[in-house]
Each structure stands twice: as C-alpha cells, then as structure tokens.
Amino acid sequence: MPIGDLAPELAVLLTAVAILLLAMVLPRRSHHWCAILAAGGLGLAMIMGWSQSDAQRLTFSGTQALDGATTWARIVIPGITILCVGLAPRWFATDRRHGEYYAMLLFSTLGALAMAGAADLMQLVLAVLLSSVTGYVLAAYHRDWAISLEAGMKYFLVGALANAILVIGVILVMGMAGSSDYGELAGSIPNDPLALTGLALILIALFFKLGAVPGHTWVPDVAEGAPVPAAAFLTVIPKLAAAVALYRLVALAPGVEALPLLIALASAATMTLGNLCALWQDDVRRLVGWSSVSQSGYALMAVAAAGAVPEALPALLGFMTVYGIANLVAFSVVADLRGRTAISGYNGLLPAQPVAAAALALAFLSFAGIPPLAGFLGKFALFSATLDAGLAWLAIVAVANTVLSLFYYLRVIGPAFFSQPHDGIGTLGGSARAVLWLSVAILIAMTFLWSPIWSALPADLLP
C-alpha cells in the first residue's frame, strides 16, 4: 500500500489523535497548546501536499486521485484551517472541552481532504460522512448555548437526509453502472432513468455540502448559530471540498445532456436565493451565511461550464480559494469583535476599530467582486468560463445578483464607515486578531500573486 501517497491526510489524522491524547493530559489552562499542535500538523500537511504536487495518478486501487485538484485541496484546505484554528483559542477559552475542539476540527479537515480526493463513490460517501459528522459536532460545540445546539441539530437533520440520499444515489449508480470507481465510471454511466436518478441524488447531496439550493438551508443557521470559529470553518472548508467533488462527479458524466443545464439552474437559483435572503438580514453572521450561499451559486457557474471549456476548473478552484479567504476575513472580523452580530452593532465601526472595519469592507467588496480585489479576479475567471461555455444568460443572472449583493454588503459597510459609534466595541484580540491581519494580508496578496496562482491551478482532472 502506497502509504506515502496519503502523507498529508495521515499527518492530519495523527495530529488529531495526538491532540485527543494531549487534551486528555493537559491542564485546562494549557489547552491552547492543542491549537499550536493542530496548526503545526496542518502546516506539515500543507508542506507534504506541496511536496506531492507533481503527482498525477490514482492511488489506493483507484479510490484516491492524486492530481492538481487534490494538491490544491491539500494546500488550501489545511491552510485555511490553520487560520480557523487561530480564531479558536480565546473564543473557546472557557470551554472545558477546549482541546477536543481541535481534534474535531482536524477530523473534519480530514473528511474534507478525503472528499476532495475521492475517486470512488464509496470513498465519497464516507468522506462526506466524516466531514458531516464532525461538522455537526463543531456547529453544536457550544453545548451550553441554545442556538449553537440548534444550529448543530439543524445541520444534522438536513445532513442526515442528504447523506441518506447520497447513499441511495451511489447505490443506484453503482448498480446500474457496475462500478463505483471513477476510472471505470468515466463516460460510462448509463443514460437510463435509474442511473440518472442516482446521479441526481448524488448531486443533491453534494449540493448540500456545497450549500447550494436545495441543500442550502443549513448554511445561514450554522453561520449564525455555530461558534464563530466553527462557522468560519464550516462555511468554507466543506464547500471547497464539495466543489472539487462535484466537479469530479460532473466530469464523469459528459454524456448527460441536461446536466450542465441542471447545474446552471441550480447555480442561478442558489445565487438569487442567497442574495435575496441576505437582503434584509439584520444579523451580520446570518447575512454572511446567506452571502456564502450565493457564493456557492457563483461557484456552480464553473461547474456548469465543466468539460465545455478548459478554464472551468481553474476558475472554480481560483474562485473557491478567494471565497474561502474572504469568508474567513469576514468571520475573523466577527470573531475578533467577540461575535458582534447585530447590524446596528456595526455602526461606527471605523472610528472604533479601524482595522476590523477595513477588513470587513475588503472582504465584502471582494465578495461583491470589486476589482482589483481577489474576489474580482475569481469572479472574472468565472464569468470568462461561463461566457466561453455559451452560458451567457447565467453570466447575466450573476451580474444581476452581484449588483443585488452589493446592496446588502453596503448595508453593513455604509453604517460602519459613515455612522458614529454608540458604545465601545470590544475585541477578542490575541490570535484572532493575528488571523484577521494574516487573512487580510493573504486576501490582498492574492491580487498581486494571481498570475502564479492562476498558472498553478490545474486545467484538468484524473481520471
């Protein structure tokens, strides 16, 4: 068994286990060491992922793909998770299971990595399961806080059905196509109703992970209710992985004519719904959650163009990277502001907390695709791919949605910049603030580094 092929995943797994053990022995005050360990393990995974970036093969009998997309996931997912880790220490300082949080976080990361790399439907099922199960726990981590539990419960309820659907779908596809291996499925999924039903079921389940319509319902709840560091993680990492998984799946079935249309419709529905629902939110976390739904819709634009144009995959990955960073910036602002969430609470943020205000504006403007922020570059890649694929109508819908989204982003930014504060605004400080700075720096740097990033993104996938 080529164990070395899974070095990054193993690094994460072993770190998670080590954290579990460490959390068992460390005194409560010292649980932040778990965070450091987690960051270290993730960093190691990134390095290992980087070192395997040349690989272009299937491994473990075709159940795991080692290709550009996997490499991307192995760098971006642990990378962003490190930032998520940084948000947690002060946030969970009073939690008596502080250390275990990092273990769960790492298990969830592992699930995401597995999802991104899965080249077998069964592996996909388990990866989704691992990612989901840990996700529920992360969302409900504030066990003494009702809406955190509620968020976890909602996430679980939707997720359980989605996973059941996924299993059914996989079985139908397996049964009809005779294999679960992507290598064998590629292009050979039969065009009969049962297999198509199975395909649709898998898609829906992955939409759930991606937070796209109709599986989007958990996103705003988790964004609002989950602990902010967990929300930051859950609205980003599973989506990154799901985007890759979805792309891999769609690439398997080039013969299904209606598939791009289905994805495009889902994309349009998702961005529109996300934006419309975000429109009048008075809760910033929830607003970001809905915005994250709409961003999933944009991501689906690239999936809809999959196969039609070569730049669809780079566009997807590039966009998701930027989205992940920008979303993290937004949540790290919220985390650094101690979970401040009422929209009116952000009045006069600029004079009170200029860095946080600027970061929030940057993140939101990046979401809106204001150039030259990286969000624009991502969106630009998406638009190019979509237009090139002949889905101009989708691009127009996206344009309308972008305009719409600007409205609610400005609903936050406007008062934050133009109003006077009514009271002091407390911050969490510490590593949360460091993450804020770091993520903002990355977001800004991406503008300048876009060229190397773009050329490093893979153009196609295995198999």
Binding site: M153, V158, I165, T197, I204, L261, L262
Partner: protein, 638 residues
C-alpha cells in the same frame, strides 16, 4: 490687424472695467478706446484674416467696403454714447457699464468683419451675451434681471437659425465661409437662408421677436442707445445686407424678408405711435426702421439698407440720448410729463434735428435714405411701395410726437445740462445732420459706389406720396403729442374732430390692439385669458382716461409685465410645465428602473426569506422538491 477690430475693444473694455475710476477718467478712457477702434476700422479696410481652429474650422475675417462702413459706424456711435454714459448714468457700476459697452462693440465688430458663419456666430452670440449683461446692469432692481434673461433667451431662439445655417453650410460644403455659402443650392441653401433670416429677424426685433426690445428698455438709457443704433439690433439688418448676394438665390427669401420687414415696419410704427413711454416709443420705432431695412434687403438693395442703417444709427442714438436727458430732468420716461423746450433749449434743437431726420423730413439724412428705401420697395411692387410710404408716415408721426411731447412747450424746470450728455447729443445729431449731405448726388453717388450700393430709381408719384405721407405724419404726430395732454378740441373746422373720429380713434384702437398683440404676441390666452383681458382694460383706463402719473407708472409696469407673457413667456411656461412634469412623472418613471426593480427585489427578498422557516421538515421538503426537479430535468430534459 483686422482681428484687432474685434479684440481690441474687448480687451480695452475689460481693462477699463478692471481699472475703474471717476466719471471723467472713465469717459476719457472709453472715448479713447472708441476712437482707437474707429481708427482701426478706418485703416483695416479691405483686409482679411484667417484664424485656424482645425482643418475643418477656419475662422475668417474680411472687411469689404460695405462691412467697413458699418465697422466705422459702430465705434463712431460708441464714442458719443460713452461720453453720454459717463455723464448720465449712476457712478455705481459705471466702470462695468463702460467696459461692457466696449466688449459689446467688440462683439459687434466681430459680426461685421466675419468672413464665415462660425465667426459670425461667435460674434453674434457674444453680442447677445453682452446685451444680457448690459440690460441687467442694474441688477439690484427687480425688473432688469428677468428682462435681460428674456432678451437673451428670445434672441437666442433666433440664433438657432444661425446654428442651422452653419450646420447646413458645413454639412453641404465642409466649410462655413461666406464663399462656401455662396455655392449652396437646393435644400441646404434654403435652410441657410431662412436660418439666417430667423437669426437676423430675432436680433433686429422683428415680429414675432419684437417684445424683447421693449423688455430691453429696463437697461440703462445709454445701453438702449447703443443697442438700438449700431450694435445688437443693427446686426440683424446688417447681416442680411452683407449676405444678400449669397442668400438671394434662395427661393422665397426676398419675399419672406419683405413680408417680415414691412409687417414689422407698419406694426412697429403703430405701436410706437401709441406709446407714452419715451424709450418704448423709440423701441417700437427701431423695430419699424429695422423692418424697413430688412424689407429693402429683401427687395434686393442691401446697400440702401446699410446706408439707412448708418443714418438711422446716428438718429436713433441721438434720440435715445435725448430721452435719457429728458428722463433725468423730468424724473420719468412718461412723455406726457416732459415738455422740456423751455428748460433745455439746446437739447430741444438737437432733438428736433434727430427727430425730423427720423421722421424723414427732407432735407435731413433720414429723409434721403427713407426715400431710397421707398424707391427700392417700389421696385418690388407698388403695393409694397405704398406700405412703405404708410410706414414712413407712421414714423413721421411718432418721431414728431416724441419730439413735441418731450421737448415741446412746458414749464421751466431747474435743468442743468451735463457737458457729456450735450456733447453726445450734439455729436450724434450733428452726425445725422452731416449725413444730410447724402442728398447731394455728388456725395451719395461716390458713397454708394464705394460700398457697392445700387441706388434705385423711383417714380415721381411715389416721391410725392411719400412726402405727403410724411407731412401728414408730422401733423398727426404734433396732434397726437398735444392730444395726450389735452382733450381733443374741434378746431380747424372740425378737421380735428374728423381726425379724431376717422383717424385718431381708430388709430388708437388699432394701436392698442397691436400694442397688446406686440407685447403679448401669442398672448397667454391659453393660460389666463380673462385675467389678461381685464388687465388690458385696466391699462387702457389708466393710461388714457386718468392720464395721471400713477396710472402711467402702472401702465408702464404692467406693460413690462405683459411683455413677460410674450411668446417666450409661453415657451418658458410651457417648458416649465413640461419640466415640472418631467421632474415629477418622468423622473419617477425613469427612477422606477432602479427603484422599482429595487423595491420588487426587496420584496422578493423579504418573501423568499420566509422559505427559511426555521423548521427542519420544511427544509426536508425543499430538499426533496429540489431532488424531484433535478431528477425530472435529468431524465426528461436531456
């Protein structure tokens, strides 16, 4: 060199405005500048100039004798008027007045020297803008501001014709020079010719643009003097004369010019005759005289028109100066309150010369040039000649009436004349007198030859009729002047009564109607007919029956108020209404694009949000509905 004719007065004017100074200083500076301009005009003859803007637009200037005569005229008139202004007008703002008059002159000179339509347009509109500033000179008062705006907008409406001419000419030939204008034919020529006609007519205060001339009376007297003699108003007649060779080929051009010109000549005369406001009387007269000139151009004698322009300039400027003096002494422009012969004997004499010249009484200069015009129009048709004669009679009537009413017998007042005023009056009247030399063939022939004017030959009947009309007019004028202050008495064996009932009463009625028509042109009957009617009746009562000062003042004021509701009044109100409509409904409609979309979207947002009920089983339903649709699409959509 030739351009200096335009920019020297402008720069001098701005400099004088900036430097300022006492009356004497300003007078001296203004006079020197005017004299310098005059010198420039004298030496610049025959010169040409080019000023390249781009390959396509080249400003050109030329000064053929016809133009040079006017180029000389303008500063020659300005000089005395500067003297008049610096001695008569308020010291407050005097530097500005003198300076702007020079700028005004510069603009006029640009019109005169223009060798292409763009240059013409530039000068044309600068003249308009300066007239705005000059009419609104006394900006602290309520009336001049709106009047200045009125005048500018109304004349600019006519300027659109000039724009049209430029467009047509350049569109057809790629050049806007007069030479290019001459090569036009067909539709472009018609557009250019009628565009220019409209522009000229508006500047010259012809029907239907005449009302602005009355409003312009809110400006200082010196401004009126300049405006009505050698600049603004003259520009209209001048340009038609200057471009007559190029435009006459346009079908219908001559007829249109004659129609407008003669129509205005007659109506203007009637209006002038009816006026008791000294300056307005003169304003009506200006319309009429310009009408005659335009008609003459239409009849094919541009040179004659220019000669009359020159003569008229001296005459009219003198009369305005006289009106200004009379106003200063009597404190009012009401002719019935003047009667200054005893107080101002010298001024009376000078005024009489000018007035008789205006009345076309031989052997004064006005008589000669008017006779030439009568002859010219006779050539165009006997009826037209007859109308010209009638118009001449009218001018005789109102000129006489002005002179007799203003400088007729009256009580002696304490009237110290100012040297500047008298000098101006003397110069101008003297000029008018000197021009009488034109009666002599030895003078008029070389002059006509120089400017290229063809002098028409006329019939004897026409001459006699014309003289009779003038004589009749003078008599009527004298009578009208008296009738203003006294009840008509049946002397002269009932002839007076005959006059009264057969001529004067109908004349009054006609002129009242025409005045109303002229003042309000297309009237605002659309908007407030009854109010206007009752207003008119009240005016009539005030002005004719009471004959008292307050009444006259009211009359004058309502007169200007009525003028405000002229053609432009309607246009302005119409467009204001349209604008209000636009600002209201229209803007709301176009605002609906974003706002409406925004609102619908907002509502959609508020509604769609309710999908997120917070209830897990609804989420399940959403998920399953989505699934069903996806399956359906995949199976049946492919």
């Amino acid at each position: 060199m030739i351009w200096a004719l335009a920019y020297f007065p402008v720069l001098a004017g701005l400099a004088i405005w900036a430097i300022g100074g006492s009356r004497a200083t300003l007078g001296a500076m203004g006079a020197v500048a005017a004299a310098a301009t005059l010198a420039l005009a004298l030496v610049a003859g025959g010169g040409t100039g080019r000023f390249v803007w781009s390959e396509l637009i080249v400003l050109q200037a030329a000064l053929p004798p016809l133009a040079q005569s006017v180029a000389i005229l303008v500063p020659a008139i300005l000089l005395p008027i500067t003297l008049f202004a610096t001695s008569q007008e308020d010291t407050r703002g005097l530097p500005r007045l003198v300076g702007l008059m020079l700028v005004f002159t510069g603009g006029m000179e640009l019109v005169v020297i223009a060798g292409d339509l763009v240059t013409l347009l530039i000068g044309w509109e600068i003249v308009g803008a300066c007239s705005w500033a000059l009419i609104g000179h006394k900006w602290r008062e309520q009336a001049p501001g709106p009047s200045a705006n009125f005048a500018f907008v109304l004349t600019r409406a006519g300027d659109l014709g000039l724009f049209l001419a430029v467009m047509a000419t350049m569109g057809a030939t790629g050049s806007a020079s007069y030479a290019a204008l001459g090569t036009l034919d067909g539709v472009p020529l018609a557009l250019a010719a009628f565009g220019l006609l409209v522009a000229a007519v508006s500047k010259a205060g012809q029907v239907p643009f005449a009302p602005w001339l009355f409003r312009a009376m809110d400006g200082p007297t010196s401004v009126s003097a300049l405006l009505h003699s050698a600049t603004m108003v003259a520009a209209g007649a001048y340009i038609l004369a200057r471009l007559h060779p190029q435009l006459s080929a346009a079908p219908g051009f001559g007829a249109a010019a004659i129609a407008v010109g003669l129509g205005t000549a007659v109506l203007g005369g009637i209006v002038a005759l009816r006026q008791t406001h000294a300056k307005k009387l003169l304003a009506g007269s200006t319309s009429a005289q310009m009408g005659l000139m335009i008609a003459t151009v239409g009849a094919g004698y541009p040179g004659v028109a220019v000669l009359h322009l020159i003569v008229h300039a001296a005459t009219k400027a003198a009369l305005f100066c006289a009106a200004g003096v009379a106003h200063r002494v009597s404190g009012s422009f009401d002719l019935r309150r003047m009667g200054l012969a005893a107080s101002l004997p010298a001024a009376t004499v000078l005024t009489a010369i000018a007035a008789l010249s205006l009345a076309a009484v031989p052997p004064l200069s006005g008589g000669w040039s008017k006779e030439e015009m009568v002859k010219a129009l006779e050539h165009a048709g006997p009826l037209l000649g007859a109308l010209t004669i009638v118009s001449g009679g009218l001018s005789a009537a109102y000129a006489t009436r002005f002179a007799v009413a203003a400088f007729g017998p009256g009580e002696t007042r304490d009237a110290r004349t100012r040297p500047g005023e008298m000098a101006a009056l003397a110069l101008l009247s003297g000029g008018a007198l000197a021009l009488s030399a034109l009666w002599l063939p030895a003078v008029n022939e070389p002059v006509a030859a120089w400017i290229g004017a063809e002098l028409p030959s006329g019939s004897r009947i026409g001459l006699i009729a014309s003289l009779v009309a003038v004589a009749f007019g003078v008599l009527a004028g004298v009578h009208a002047a008296r009738a203003d202050s006294t009840d008509p008495t049946p002397e002269w064996l009932g002839l007076s009564a005959l006059y009264e009932y057969a001529v004067i009463r109908p004349f009054h009625a006609l002129s009242q109607t025409a005045a109303d028509f002229d003042d309000t042109t297309i009237d605002q009957s659309v908007i407030r007919p009854f109010q206007a009617l009752s207003q008119t009746a009240a005016d009539f009562d005030d002005a004719t029956i009471d004959g008292l000062a307050p009444g006259a003042a009211t009359g004058a004021m309502t007169g200007s108020a009525r003028a405000a509701r002229g053609a432009i009044g309607i246009a302005v109100q119409g467009s204001a209404a349209l604008a209000a409509l636009g600002a209201g409904l229209g803007e709301r409609l176009s605002d609906l694009i974003p706002d409406g979309t925004g609102r619908v979207t907002g509502m959609a947002g508020a509604d769609l949000r309710r999908l997120q009920t917070g209830l897990a089983h609804h989420y399940y339903t959403i998920l399953m509905v989505g699934f069903a649709l996806a399956v359906g699409l995949l199976i049946f959509g492919g």
